[in-house]
């Protein structure tokens, strides 16, 4: 280790920080403390940057040099930026030494493409393999598979990495080809499929042989860039739904497009990343995974895009005011979950504590229910107040719209939380 590595580290971190393209993944995004982190088990944030983002993994590129020219990427070959490449040994040392000092939870390794996909992938695999076998490193490893990598290398990576990912980047193939001419959906879906097969095969073998090797035990994830092309939220959420139906697909991440190469006229002229939209997509995704919502309940042909002013659960409730109010002392779990302002945790608490005694408004407040929203959608044995039907959905929408809706600055806070209840 020497000062040299320090310089490379700076260049590579700089390249990886814009959360798009080959350097991207949602794994270092801070969701609500104590919720997603604990369910996934590797969510400890060891530091926070000055913009308030969680640093959990050493998120680093093997190299930021690239033979491709993707329009949305800071590292595209036509950009004149400093380039750096770490050796396999340097990457190993950095990971081990950072880990030993409790700086990180693990490694998130990605790379630009040098020579060809397999050449790059082979080096990355060497890093994770040596970490596991020679250094007996047990920390978390997320490795991003290079699009177009061969089955053999993907299979090998799966033996050492906890999670693999291949980013879809752009939902519709014609749009992907427009912005990243060297890529197509096949180069992305194929490695995705290899991972899925690896995970399934290993699960199957482990049923018969307890010590059969595990394959990417944390499954795979993927990411889409939002707002660089013209896909609607309906296109995006439908694609997410079909991805979640694949075995092994654990998370879909959404990354608001950060206009890095503004000179490229194929890209929309954005001033700012669409952070609010990104946040709404995460909320919708959350509803699909934990609240039993289907994509077509959240967005459909009459509402192809999410309401930016209110969260998608509230939006759904306002469109279905006939389903409310519901009685928190009687309704079943699924229905309680649909009430705006009541999250998974408080819904569980309601079910377990109403065995002891009736739930009242003050018990709900104590449980952390956001009464500001919830009170229009429930009854709890007290005098009925105004419900959504009396005050009308239209009025309620206005009343509950985020006060910041006259956004001067498109709400940097949005990055910090995913779900407001």
């Amino acid at each position: 280790m020497n000062e040299h590595v320090l310089d490379k580290l700076k260049v590579l971190a700089e390249s990886a920080k814009y959360d798009i393209s080959c350097a991207s993944s949602g794994t270092t995004r801070k969701n609500r403390p104590g919720t997603i982190g604990s369910t996934e088990g590797w969510g400890i944030c060891h530091s926070f940057t000055e913009d308030g983002r969680c640093v959990s993994l050493l998120k680093i590129m093997l190299t930021n040099a690239c033979i491709y020219d993707c329009a949305y990427c800071i590292n595209r070959r036509s950009n004149d930026i400093p380039r750096a490449t770490l050796t396999v040994q340097e990457l190993i040392d950095l990971t081990i030494e950072f880990y030993r000092r409790n700086y990180i939870e693990g490694l998130f390794l990605s790379s630009g493409v040098i020579n060809n996909p397999d050449y790059t992938m082979e080096r990355m695999v060497r890093v994770v393999k040596e970490l596991r076998t020679n250094y007996h490193y047990n920390g978390y490893i997320h490795m991003k598979s290079i699009p177009g990598a061969s089955r053999e290398l993907v299979n090998e990576a799966g033996l050492y990495a906890d999670r693999l990912s291949v980013n879809i980047e752009i939902p519709k193939e014609q749009n992907l080809k427009m912005l990243a001419p060297e890529k197509d959906h096949q180069s992305i879906y194929k490695p995705m499929f290899y991972i899925q097969q690896g995970v399934l095969a290993s699960a199957d073998e482990r049923k018969r042989f307890r010590y059969a090797p595990r394959f990417a035990p944390a499954g795979q994830s993927t990411q889409m860039i939002i707002g660089a092309t013209d896909e609607s939220d309906k296109d995006i959420l439908q694609l997410s739904t079909s991805l979640y139906q694949r075995p092994s697909m654990k998370r879909v991440y959404y990354s608001g497009f950060i206009p890095v190469n503004s000179y490229d006229t194929r890209l929309p002229a954005l001033k700012q990343a669409p952070l609010v939209r990104e946040n709404r997509l995460y909320q919708a995704d959350w509803l699909m995974r934990f609240y039993g919502f289907r994509a077509n309940e959240i967005v459909d042909d009459s509402y192809p895009n999410l309401d930016l002013e209110i969260d998608p659960k509230l939006a759904w409730a306002l469109r279905h005011s006939e389903a409310f109010p519901i009685d928190v002392n009687k309704a079943d779990y699924g229905l309680i979950l649909r009430v705006p302002g009541i999250g998974v945790k408080s819904a569980g608490l309601i079910i377990s504590s109403r065995k002891h005694r009736r739930i009242t408004a003050s018990t709900l407040t104590k449980m952390g229910v956001v009464m500001k929203k919830a009170r229009f959608f429930i009854t709890c044995g007290e005098l009925p107040t105004f419900t959504v039907n009396e005050v009308t959905p239209e009025y309620l929408r206005l009343a509950l719209m985020s006060k910041k809706s006259s956004r001067k600055e498109p709400d940097s806070k949005q990055l910090s939380f995913v779900f407001t209840e």
Binding site: K10, T49, D51, G52, C54, K59, R100, R101, N102
Partner: protein, 253 residues
Amino acid sequence: MIVFQYDKTFEGLLTAVFDAYSRKVFPERLVSEDEPLPLFAEQVHRVITEPEKSTRVWKALEKKLTKSVCAMLMHVWLSELPESDELLFRYMRKAFDAPMSIATYFADDDVLEVKKIAQKVSREREHVTQFVRFQKASDDLFFAPASPMYNVLPLTLDYFTDRFADQIWLIYDVKRRYGYYYDLKTTSEVMLDNDEYLLSGKLDEALMAQDEKLFQEMWKEYTLSLTIKERLNPKLQRQYMPRRFWKYLPEKN
């Protein structure tokens, strides 16, 4: 007013519960042995801590309450907050007297309060696992200072022993002046006689391993380069990473 005096240990508190039940006398106040008695103390009982009694009470609690609730009581104890012992006493008494588990009975202020304090302590525990930083000394010992708001080091040992099983380490609470030392086999509580040189939290450069400075520097530069300068939000940073931890973070020094 009925007052119990005890030695301000957790075992002592459990023994007090034992004594209360066996004498059918329940204290309104718990005080330490050297604390002046409250003005209106009419009846004073001096609790003599006995492992046998405290174990029996704890076992009975474990039967009555779930594991996580027992852990919660431990958390509240480690909060070291004034009167948290009296709160725990009341809680245990209610737990023993109620026919059903009181764990979710949040209409009761003590139940709610125990939960709240336990949550705060558990958050502090998490903070320690997040923000403790080891510095490697020239003799290969990894040293980490800490000064948590609550006495949470005992709660973090699982995390550290599990994760750093193949390095020798010392985590030292510089506020309470004790710590834990792991020698590759076992973790033991230590109190150092000459701990003055550790209290600043920074190893002297002469004591550091060869690359230690460089790794600190690299970590600092790494987190700095990750920052998106157009979106600075120091308030958010402080909210997630409270200021009181900064003095031991290489990225903040």
